[in-house]
Symmetry: C2
Subunit: 442 residues, 2 copies
């Protein structure tokens, strides 16, 4: 029985420093729960000369990350550097040596998780990653253990805090995307290069992980339909509101019938959700995951999706969990991917063209007689029928373009796309039509 | 290594039948996660002659509950009978024989949990009870594992679905307590004897369990301040709304400084919460628990707090957890009370008189000159100062009583109680003053 859990920390930025702080401040509570102390034995940083919080013990710090990842005294390697390299090589080296790993690195897990998790399973060591999805919300544990007896019927989440922050401010202040983004960068809610966040890439990484845990399916982020929030305008917020909706950045996974088999519907995009829905009430940079179990029904978890301390909290809870496994020698007690290796499925991802939903469509068109009839005609030709419509701007024959906003009845995504590309080619269409999905059960 | 998890089921009402159904319907998913099948080997019922769902295999059913609880083939005893007797004796007998127990019985846990959990710890067997608090919401697991690294700063929940259902309908339909309760009984949302639910007893049971897990403190329900929702009138809903609040049935646990030590503030009562707060949005019979971690910040979980299937889901997830422990022999890996026995504290409960908050006060008084001045005078004499006031009804000297509603500044509970009992003795006070607390951080 090991009487201490010895940690090697890779990365000591805000999250790493938060981990050191938490292990210090909550040492007594943690030992009371775990039954053994957690001790940091090495800390790898990129640049030794950078000034650090006094809580980070200088003699432990080194630039040689591999020496920390492979140190014989280290039981658990904690990786909070981010990025694929050298994080991937370090994690692999640690696992190969039979060390347990706790990581907050969703990109690494989404891109190379399969191979790393298989190595962990072969070596019978733990690879935990609660902090990789939805920061402080313990969604990984809930999917892997709390709902272990249920079948997940649908999973809908707001898992990118930056996108939620930007859309929330657009909603409440009537501002346009670019203005809010600039402000968000100034305030530290968005990175200098915001592409991964506002483009949906980060949410797709997280959704790939969640789908694996919920369905036992191997999913790669490139199989996920991905649309960013950068095409949402202040004007769309306003019209959505008029129809009784707000626009939220969603990540969705659900099993759907497809031909004779069951496939996964996987999507990351901004969507219209009813003003009265729970996800509509998740504002600011908060994250939320809404899980619907066949037996459970709907269950919501919301909380801080990022931030140094919430993320550090999740990482250290994982260290406690690994420590508990060390103390009673129960590694691999819970399968890392929620399902045991032999039960993992290769579920297919349904082509996004097959998705059916109501659509919000916005057209900017010349203010001429017959335009509406023509657009409605094209839509109708593709089986897309209009439920509600608002026409604004222009004054009958003026040169100012008119705005045409529609809510359709349920229509197939492939049909909508074809109709829109035909409409976009019409001479009186001033800009590419905008299309957003309505998510009914959010 | 056991290759099967064999269950003895005590009780086969709606929850018990739900468990049988779930184990049947989700057998493949569960085995994929657990790595072994779960098999029911005996089912104890009160009355053999009662008709049952066809899924309940007749040859397994018996009226001899003790024979199921102590059967040599049973690995896990699942108790869903409810009540203290004979459930307590059966659980104790099973634990004494080294069997694991999963129970949904909050009354048993709150009243006799300490002794039962100690027996489980001595015998090194598992005693799990996720379904006992907030039905399908995996709050026990989250407190015990997900937030194992954090210190819980406050825990606020809606943990009695019946009370939430009744108050929500009063709020939305303007009805009085008695009318909604009658309807709730008719619809199955309230028991024939609703005392335990609407009187706060059930919530106090659950809060005692949550406080133990969050703070490692031994708490008995009788130490918890308890007020039912039966004193809330439609008129209070209306005035609360006017001040920007809704009234919700809360259960609250938080550590507070008291003299030189830290004590627990434990309360179950209806409270005014801001309309824009998260708990205000938890409607119907839903439950929610709002946990605030020192590092995590605020985190909300909401979902169905009762119902056969959500409760069965939680019970079976516990069976899966116990099964995982069986397969790798890791019982007692996680301390049942979240903290290891030697770390459990005997935290004192702070006397409720010491609580400070804003108050909602309603007086029904004779419509005479000087009444308001007199009431304000008594309040002032006890250091209770008025922030907002509304006076209605009566027409200056008429015989119709006037209603006086106030929102106070923060005041000490003991002072408020003394002031109110003095006011209640005034001749022109028509009925006992009503007082409700304002909960600011809900």
């Amino acid at each position: 029985m090991t009487r201490k859990v010895r940690v090697g920390l890779l990365g000591c930025g805000v999250v790493g420093t938060g981990i050191v702080r938490l292990l210090h401040d909550n040492a007594r509570t943690i030992e009371g729960r775990l039954g053994a102390p957690i001790e940091i034995v090495g800390i790898a940083v990129r640049d030794l000369s950078k000034p650090r919080d006094a809580i980070v013990s200088a003699p432990l710090v080194t630039e040689d990350a591999m020496s920390v990842a492979t140190h014989p005294d280290v039981d658990v390697v904690v990786e909070v550097m981010g990025g694929l390299h050298p994080a991937g090589e370090l994690v692999k080296a640690a696992l190969d040596l039979g060390k347990h790993v706790v990581t907050a690195n969703k990109a690494l897990l989404a891109e190379e998780g399969d191979a790393l998790l298989e190595t962990a399973e072969q070596k019978k060591v733990d690879l935990y990653f609660e902090a990789a999805v939805a920061g402080g919300i313990p969604i990984i544990r809930v999917l892997r253990e709390g709902l272990a007896s249920d079948r997940i019927v649908a999973l809908r989440g707001i898992v990118n805090g930056t996108s939620n922050y930007v859309l929330s401010r657009m909603q409440h202040e009537g501002l346009d995307f670019a203005d809010v983004l600039k402000d968000a960068q100034r305030l530290g809610y968005a990175e200098a290069d915001p592409t991964l966040d506002v483009g949906g890439g980060d949410a797709a990484h997280k959704l790939a992980i969640l789908a694996t845990l919920a369905y036992g399916a191997r999913v790669h982020p490139r199989e996920i339909l991905k649309e960013g929030i950068d095409t949402v305008g202040a004007v769309d917020m306003r019209y959505a509101e008029r129809f009784g909706f707000v626009i939220k950045p969603l990540a969705i996974a659900r099993p759907v019938p497809w031909g004779r088999e069951e496939a996964l519907d996987l999507r990351v995009h901004p969507a219209l959700v009813s003003k009265s829905s729970v996800l509509a009430s998740i504002g600011g940079a908060l994250n939320a995951v809404f899980v619907e179990g066949a037996m459970l029904g709907p269950c919501l978890m919301s909380g801080p999706g990022a931030g140094a301390l919430p993320t550090a909290m999740s990482v250290v809870s994982d260290i406690v969990d690994v420590g508990r496994n060390m103390l009673v020698d129960s590694h691999a007690r819970v399968p890392t991917r929620a399902f045991r290796g032999e039960s993992l499925q290769t579920m297919r991802v349904r082509p996004s063209a097959e998705h059916r939903c109501r659509w919000y469509l916005r057209f900017s068109v010349a203010d001429q007689a017959g335009v509406l009839a023509r657009i409605a005609g094209v839509l109708g030709g593709f089986d897309v029928s209009i439920e509600q419509m608002v026409q604004e701007g222009g004054r009958g024959g003026s040169s100012v373009p008119a705005t045409l906003v529609m809510l359709t009845h349920e229509a197939r995504e492939g049909d909508v796309r074809e109709a829109l590309s035909e409409i976009a080619r019409l001479a009186y269409c001033h800009e590419a039509p905008r299309a957003l999905r309505v998510e009914e059960d959010a």
